[in-house]
Amino acid sequence: MDREQKKNELIGFLRTIQRPDYPDNEIDEDSSLIESGLIDSLALLQIVTYLEQAYDIDFREIGIDPGELRSVGSILNLIARELKS
């Protein structure tokens, strides 16, 4: 699966957990997921669960830098790094 496919899948997932009153705008790679109002901070747990299940990433092993879940782009970079290692 290339980056574009992973991005589409990730955005599809984010749509299922976004705030109910978030407008139907495009989600770009660089905007902060929380600051833009797309999700609240506790939804990060759902993103972590998604990454664990979709990409078999164990965050207790690697730890999480909060910045790595900040945006679509940073999450894709995290996925790429963990799949390589």
Binding site: D21, L44, G63
Partner: protein, 511 residues
């Protein structure tokens, strides 16, 4: 009355700001002088808007020095809810800063509350003293602290603690728990909350231990909890189950072996999560701490020696007597047949010198809850043959969303005022992260998309975000009991078989 309490050091681990205890006392006395000059006197009620920082604790103790009553306010409340509290409490002053929104500031001014911003009055060079003693103005049974637990949209329920009840709580905890394990305490809980303020923060800090105070509900902190514990050599922290669920998933465990004790409370702790916390923290001393704002928070916990985590296990009382009675009626207190046998489930009653003075301006409500010094908790429990206390459920009408209590009547009160609402019933639903979450069934005079969108906007304006129902059911009628009263349990059962509204789709449809 606080003369044998000593303030410890204070640190904000995220910003790095820190006061040694002498600096903390200097800050307190600066404020005592300032607030005295501004006219704050004994028995004045003062709103505190900004918690979980160094300044909050200095403000709090300065208020107690002059004998005033501190009222910490939940920053997540809407201006509508805060105005309701202002009208109920009628504080003379409010401690604010530049982050306070204009709508709340207007509400303060309209109701004659004087806002004070300490940063605008900062002065240098005052005396300092490690020992803290309130001024002669305070009396042991004066109001010291008021914490609102519900009713922000209707009739606010304010739990009032006196200097006597607070001191009793801290003295009892010192005797039951000692202070050694708390020498470097981390508080991740909000300071407008009994658990976070009275016990997690003030108990260790006023016992001359070092308090590390962090912003509440911060996922950034939870993601790095293990590293934070190591970096600051934390020996103790307390939290709620939902925060642990996050930390266990997202944070590497601490490595430095500084933790001595952990408490977990304010919501049911499953044996499974309990063991996970023990494994993650690397210690067995993880206590399920049972407490209620009315009893000064922690009133029992697992100081039982060797134990295995069990669902419902709490342990032994801390500065209290716990009775399990077959009835919630006050006459049961004097009925020799009322006490339950060992292992028999009944109503949990508590007697403690740390009991609140009462609910602010609600004597009837206080009388329903307190009789002859005994407090009816609303919980169900049992005491086993060993004398160990177990929690077995709750009779109180509240939704426990990860430790935060949400009262269905608060949500109902807002919806009822909406122009198209005919009737409403808010109820609890199970939630994998929070334990419980909020759902709502509503009967509307108009059920089209525009009306529902308008209701959503109305609720967002009047209700704090965390109280917003996650699931909506728009129905034609609500089941009532034989007295014509809506039965929450029946509504819950009815909705279990119905599809909820697709709220996201509906809110995105054209209005």
């Amino acid at each position: 009355m606080f003369v044998d309490l000593q303030v410890g050091d204070l640190t904000e681990p995220l910003t790095g700001r820190s006061w040694k205890s002498q600096e903390a006392m200097a800050q307190i006395f600066q404020r005592v002088e300032l607030y005295g000059n501004q006219g704050i006197r004994r028995s004045d009620r003062v709103f505190l808007f900004n918690g979980n920082n160094l300044e909050f604790f200095a403000d709090l103790l300065a208020l107690w020095y002059v004998g005033a009553c501190a009222v910490p306010i939940d920053g997540r409340l809407t201006p509508f809810e805060i105005e309701n509290l202002i009208k109920t409490v009628r504080p003379r002053f409010a401690f604010v800063d530049s982050t306070l929104d204009s709508a709340t500031m207007t509400a303060l001014l309209v109701h004659g509350v004087s806002p004070l911003d300490i940063r605008a009055h900062h002065r240098d060079g005052v005396r300092s003293s490690k020992n803290y003693a309130p001024g002669e103005e305070a009396r042991l049974d004066d109001e010291a602290l008021m914490l609102f637990t519900s009713g922000s949209t209707g009739t606010p329920k304010g739990v009032v603690h006196t200097y006597r009840s607070l001191r009793a709580r801290w003295m009892a905890l010192r005797q039951c728990l000692g202070v050694e394990s708390y020498h470097r305490t981390l508080c991740l809980l909000p300071t407008h909350f009994g658990h976070g303020l009275i016990c997690n923060s003030l108990f260790p800090w006023l016992s001359d231990q070092h308090l590390f105070i962090a912003p509440p509900f911060s996922t950034d902190i939870l993601m790095q909890l293990g590293r934070l514990i190591d970096e600051h050599e934390i020996s103790f922290l307390s939290s709620v189950p939902s925060m642990w669920a996050l930390a266990l998933k997202m944070s590497k465990p601490p490595q430095a072996n500084t933790l001595r004790r952990i408490h977990c409370g304010s919501a049911p702790l499953s044996a499974y999560l309990w063991r996970q916390i023990q494994d993650w923290a690397g210690i067995k001393e993880v206590y399920n701490a049972y407490g209620i704002t009315e009893t000064g928070s922690w009133v029992a916990g697992t100081t039982v020696g060797e134990f295995e985590p069990e669902d419902g296990l709490v342990g032994l009382p801390w500065g209290a007597v716990i009775k399990i009675l077959r009835s919630a009626e006050t006459v049961a207190l004097f009925d020799n047949n009322a006490p339950c046998r060992a292992d028999e489930i009944g109503y949990v009653w508590i007697n403690t010198p740390a009991l609140m003075q009462g609910y602010f301006n609600q004597p009837e409500l206080t009388d329903q809850a307190v009789s002859s010094g005994w407090f009816l908790t609303g919980d169900m429990g049992l005491i086993d043959e060993r004398g160990w206390f177990y929690l077995k459920g709750r009779e109180r009408e509240e939704i426990n969303k990860g430790g935060t209590k949400i009262y269905p009547t608060d949500v109902d009160a807002v919806v009822e005022k909406f122009e198209y609402a005919q009737s409403v019933c808010t109820f609890a639903i199970a939630d994998p992260l929070y334990g419980q979450n909020v759902a709502m069934a509503v009967v509307l005079k108009r059920q089209d998309a525009q009306a529902i969108q308008a209701l959503h906007r109305w609720m967002k304006e009047h209700l704090a975000d965390f109280k917003m129902p996650q699931r909506w059911y728009v129905v034609d009628s609500l089941p009532q009991n034989s007295r014509g009263k809506i039965s929450r349990q029946s509504v819950q059962e009815m909705c279990a078989g119905l599809p909820p509204l697709d709220l996201p789709a509906l809110l995105r449809s054209p209005s």
